[in-house]
């Protein structure tokens, strides 16, 4: 009892020490003894209501993990990975569980609205007033019809970020064709990861990310891909990591990156590389693979004289090497590779030659070995060439289309729409003045001839009035006014554009919106989603609403269809037949009747029930020197060279090209932009990067952490609370830097610092991380919003994008997000 007395006095002390605690402690009983006996009001287990589980797909990154959504008494309360979904396999990443916050976000828009304040800016209250959906659609359609009557329909542009499938972004093509605009739609790929696609386009002819067979990979070389943070599909990559690291033989991993991160920490060998020099590292690895005779004879070929060798610095005779499935190896060696030694690469990359040689010998002598890369190497002016050098390693060791190697993604055999847009084109659609207009972003013009999209240029182009001024812009799942390089240019640009935003959330674009048409959150949507490149075989998942929309919101696809119905002429007729998203999906699902999924999905209803259609296996495989096609039982049909060219290695030569025929088609352009001699543009080679802010002394890197959540990470309380664990960033993010870098500038741990680029300055709090390169400072990209909701707004340090110059790789068009140099001072 004496002990208890002491405790009680301690409790009283606590009561006075924290006001909030006092309420609870007092409630526990003033007698001080009631706590020892079970009070009559004590609460025991409560019965729970009926729980319903529906299928959905997570919306927090491009991975498309299938989720089981748990709803009890009309409230969604949990989500777990769908065991029947081949990407999720019952698992989720840290973001996936937080989906309820999207649904119950207190800052969500509750219904359509229009702006009443004509002035636009960060500090302008839009003065939104609620309107009906009818008014919203009629307003937009009247505007679009009017543009069309004036012959200016090209001045309407659609912008989108995450397109999911046939029921949303898949509707853009028909809309542009029927209405008459080249800007339907401007995708965000050039601000995402276009560089790796272009590197593959240039070497193996596939303008795509790779599918992988990581379960059977024995060696992984990861270059700037944030494999354990952001590489897609992230959740599945972690599953594969678990398999690779516990199988026999254990997959060996070498990670090359510009900073310490979880992938570097978990790999067998971590090599710190100077930003933008990954191509030099990969060329030296290739050099060693050849001089050590480690290349794959079945894929690459061999010398006619089997005693011949690749010797450093020595040319080989043209015609002396029999190329098998590769093109240009002799010229590549003679004109580039013979001098690209590890010692040469050490001088450029900062990685000791012995580590490069050791990595090359391991990579070249372990089969199957796979080299992967993403925005790290490609987010620079030399990005495509960096990516080509890395991807060439996959060809040298024969990993293209092999078991445990990498390949490409098959499409879903969807059924057709109930109407064909080509039957509903009027004269204007066929021959209107819009036909001769370029896109607002000037992609696929002489300005950017090799890129398919250049979203980051659209805002600045509008400001200049080149090629014209936009009149109206509709945004879906994208927010370039904040995410584009040099976003302040967009803040100016969108002031005189009629902006329609469709986000469910009050983002920066919405603050500039003239009409807000809020989309339903993903847990309330019916929406299809064919997979990103995954394991090659086709797959399409389906979002099934867990509950009816809790506010007056709609599916983006339905918005597009409703606007289409209001466009004058045959366009309206077309959309009346298309009618709505569910109708689109019912027609798409008819394609499954003749191609039943492995899980029994054969129509719309079974698709809804299972949440995913897929059909294994992947159809092609490279086996001991030849390509084979699947014939129902095994890979037994040997393919001709012509078939390989048509289906797999889709380059001009039909082979993997170390001398790219695709790049050679643009030789003059590449020469003009990058200074590469015309006769050399095709070669996989080292090209010096051009860093923005070139005279400044620190590299500035702004990676995405696993909590990025498609731009919502800063407004999800649990995500923001654990955003940057590697440096203790809870509720904020810190600038990570090496202590020597700080001390030489008089900066102490925890100080507020000023980071300055050619564009301006932002402030951040710093944290010492001695495992980083002293010449590279790191500020994860996420915070610094001036809208996006109550948690995101004004949280954390300045926005890293405001230091990022709008400079892109001229070949891929990928914005060079990670190439800026900055100076650092104490704030």
């Amino acid at each position: 009892m004496k002990l208890f007395q002491a405790m009680m006095s301690r409790r009283r002390f606590l009561q006075t020490s924290t006001a909030a605690g006092a309420v609870g402690a007092t409630a526990a009983g003033v007698t001080g003894l009631s706590g020892l006996t079970q009070s009559t009001e004590a609460r025991a287990a409560r019965p729970r209501g009926e729980t319903k589980v529906t299928k959905n797909i997570c919306h927090q990154c491009p991975a498309r993990c299938g989720i089981d959504v748990y709803t009890t008494n009309g409230r969604v309360h949990a989500m777990y990975g769908d065991t029947g979904n081949p990407i999720a396999n019952g698992k989720l990443c840290p973001k996936g569980h937080l989906g309820s916050y999207f649904l119950y976000d207190p800052d969500r828009f509750k219904g359509p609205m229009k702006r009443t304040n004509p002035r636009k800016g960060r500090n302008e209250d839009p003065g939104f007033v609620p309107i009906s959906w009818e008014e919203a659609f009629d307003t937009v359609a009247a505007r679009l019809n009017n543009l069309r009557e004036r012959g200016e329909s090209h001045r309407f542009a659609h912008f989108y970020g995450r397109g999911w499938g046939a029921s949303d972004a898949g509707l853009y093509g028909d809309f542009g064709k029927l209405y008459g605009t080249p800007n339907s739609a401007i995708g965000h790929a050039s601000m995402c990861a276009e560089g790796s696609k272009k590197a593959k386009h240039a070497t193996d002819g596939n303008n795509s990310y790779n599918a992988h067979d990581l379960r059977k990979t024995n060696y992984l070389l990861i270059m700037g891909a944030s494999f354990l943070e952001a590489f897609r599909p992230y959740n599945n990559m972690m599953q594969m990591w678990g398999e690779m690291r516990s199988k026999s033989p254990k997959t060996r991993v070498t990670c090359v990156d510009v900073r310490m991160n979880p992938t570097m920490a978990a790999s067998d060998r971590a090599l710190y590389i100077k930003p933008a020099t990954d191509g030099a590292f990969a060329l030296a690895v290739a050099h060693v693979i050849l001089t050590e005779s480690l290349w794959d004879r079945d894929f690459v070929g061999d010398f006619k004289d089997l005693n011949q060798r690749f010797r450093t610095g020595e040319r080989i005779m043209p015609g002396s090497f029999d190329e098998k499935w590769v093109h240009g190896l002799t010229e590549w060696w003679n004109e580039e590779l013979k001098d690209r030694t590890p010692e040469w690469a050490e001088g450029i990359t900062g990685i000791p030659a012995r580590h490069i040689r050791q990595t090359a010998i391991e990579f070249g002598s372990t089969r199957p070995a796979v080299a992967i890369f993403e925005r790290g190497p490609t987010g620079h002016t030399n990005g495509t060439y960096n990516g080509m050098a890395i991807h060439s390693l996959n060809a040298l060791v024969g990993s293209m289309f092999t078991e445990g190697g990498l390949f490409y993604q098959m499409g879903t055999p969807y059924g057709g729409l109930p109407a064909n847009a080509d039957d509903y084109l009027d004269d204007y659609a066929r021959n209107g003045p819009w036909k001769s207009q370029p896109r607002i972003d000037l992609a696929r013009t002489a300005e950017w001839p090799m890129t398919s999209t250049m979203m980051q240029e659209a805002g600045p182009n509008h400001l200049k009035g080149t090629p014209y001024k936009m009149d109206t812009a509709m945004f879906y799942s994208t927010n370039p006014i904040w995410t584009a390089p040099d976003p302040k240019a967009w803040e100016e640009a969108l002031k005189d554009v009629f902006v329609i935003d469709t986000s469910p959330f009050p983002g920066e674009t919405a603050m500039y919106a003239d009409i807000v048409m809020p989309e339903s959150t993903y847990l309330e949507r019916l929406q299809d989603s064919p997979t990103y490149p995954f394991e090659g075989w086709p797959m399409s998942a389906l979002r099934v609403p867990a509950i009816d929309p809790i506010y007056d919101t709609k599916h983006f696809g339905d918005m597009l269809i409703e606007i289409g119905k209001r466009i004058n002429g045959p366009t309206g007729e077309f959309y009346r037949i298309i009618d709505n998203v569910e109708n689109v999906l019912r027609h798409r699902a008819k394609g499954f009747e003749n191609n039943p999924g492995d899980n029994g999905v054969r129509d719309f209803e079974s698709w809804k029930e299972k949440g995913v259609w897929y059909r294994k296996p992947y159809h092609w495989r490279f086996i001991r020197g030849d390509f084979y096609e699947w014939e129902g039982q095994r890979y037994s049909k040997r393919m001709t060279a012509a078939e390989v060219k048509q289906k797999l290695l889709r380059t001009p030569s039909g082979k993997f090209e170390f001398k790219s025929g695709y790049l050679e088609q643009y030789a003059d352009y590449i020469n003009k932009e990058l200074g590469v001699p015309v006769e050399r543009v095709g070669l996989v080679q080292w090209v010096e990067p051009r860093h923005t802010g070139g005279n400044r002394d620190l590299y500035f890197v702004t990676p995405k952490t696993p909590m990025h959540a498609e731009g919502r990470g800063a407004n999800i309380p649990h995500a923001a609370a654990i955003h940057q664990p590697v440096a203790g960033g809870r509720g904020t993010v810190y600038l990570e830097l090496h202590p020597d870098t700080a001390r030489s500038r008089g900066i102490r741990n925890g100080d507020k610092v000023k980071i300055t680029s050619d564009l301006g300055s932002i402030e951040a709090e710093c944290r010492f991380v001695a495992s980083h390169r002293p010449d590279t400072i790191i500020l994860p990209f996420e915070f610094g919003h001036w809208a996006q909701g109550r948690w995101a707004k004004d949280r954390g340090p300045g926005h890293s994008g405001e230091l990022t110059a709008n400079v892109s790789d001229p070949i891929s068009g990928l914005a060079s997000y990670y190439t800026g140099k900055v100076t650092l001072t104490k704030a």
């Binding site: 706590g35 949990a78 959740n235 599953q239 979880p262 090599l271 696993p706 654990i722 509720g731």
Partner: protein, 254 residues
């Protein structure tokens, strides 16, 4: 009688924190009230530095310090529930003595200044339900006698090994393997979601259980074994242990 145990393989853990968020949503904890946290440590210096991480649930000790110090016997070890250490919120007076006694730092008092503002407790106030807060997405399970559900104000909260799930498993379940459809709904949230499969859950009293096999084969260790607390959580892999804390601006520059 089963004795529930958890095994965490640090060689497979990727430090992603999915265990943290799965737990937070399953158990409706507040930001920062991370019953299942992941701690990160740096050692050494570029270019040979290392970064390590340690996922840290409640160890459900066989000899729990927290139970010994509780003045109201609110916190107790329940042998009939696999040896889980519970807090009875009907009895807890929020004195926090258990938090000081716990060698692992896995007990929480959420009635403080919020980690993140605006404060979720004000946005989703508890109101008539006597809960500390009441989010619309809260889980339907509640049992205050075991510290399950959303707590009332002024009490200590902690991991229950997701007792509201495991207790519904068919009698005699030994291995809670999330890949087995028959038991996946009963697997603790952090184990169920772990993508690299770095976590295992099952019966430590059964020598044939998967957890015992792993502990045997891979030399499982318990953290801070010298305290005599005897955790029911085991770690596998290189570097399993609690790294010494070093302030970032002192010592070896890390």
């Amino acid at each position: 009688m089963a004795k529930w145990g958890m095994v965490i393989d640090l060689d497979k853990c990727t430090g992603c924190q999915a265990c943290t968020t799965a737990c937070a949503m399953e158990n409706n904890t507040l930001p920062g009230e991370s019953w299942q946290d992941v701690l990160f440590y740096h050692e050494g210096e570029y270019p040979s530095a290392q970064m390590k991480w340690l996922p840290r649930p409640c160890m459900q000790c066989e000899n729990p310090s927290c139970v010994h110090v509780c003045p109201t016997r609110a916190t107790y070890k329940d042998e009939s529930a696999g040896g889980v250490v519970f807090v009875d919120w009907n009895k807890c007076i929020g004195c926090k003595y258990c938090m000081i006694a716990c060698p692992y730092g896995v007990r929480f008092y959420a009635d403080e200044k919020p980690l993140l503002e605006p404060d979720l407790r004000e946005i989703f106030p508890g109101g008539q339900d006597k809960q500390l807060w009441s989010p619309p997405y809260q889980s339907p399970d509640e049992d205050w006698s075991k510290g399950i559900g959303i707590q009332p104000p002024g009490v200590v909260s902690k991991c229950t090994f997701c007792h509201h799930k495991t207790s519904k498993a068919p009698a005699g379940t030994v291995d809670f393997d999330e890949d087995n459809p028959a038991v996946k709904e009963y697997v603790p949230a952090c184990v169920r979601t772990c993508a690299p499969k770095a976590r295992y859950f099952g019966d430590l009293d059964n020598p044939e259980s998967q957890v015992n096999q792993l502990i045997g084969d891979k030399h499982g260790v318990r953290l801070k074994d010298h305290t005599g607390n005897k955790p029911q959580v085991y770690y596998l892999g290189a570097g399993a242990g609690v790294p010494a804390f070093q302030p970032a601006d002192k010592g070896d520059k890390s």
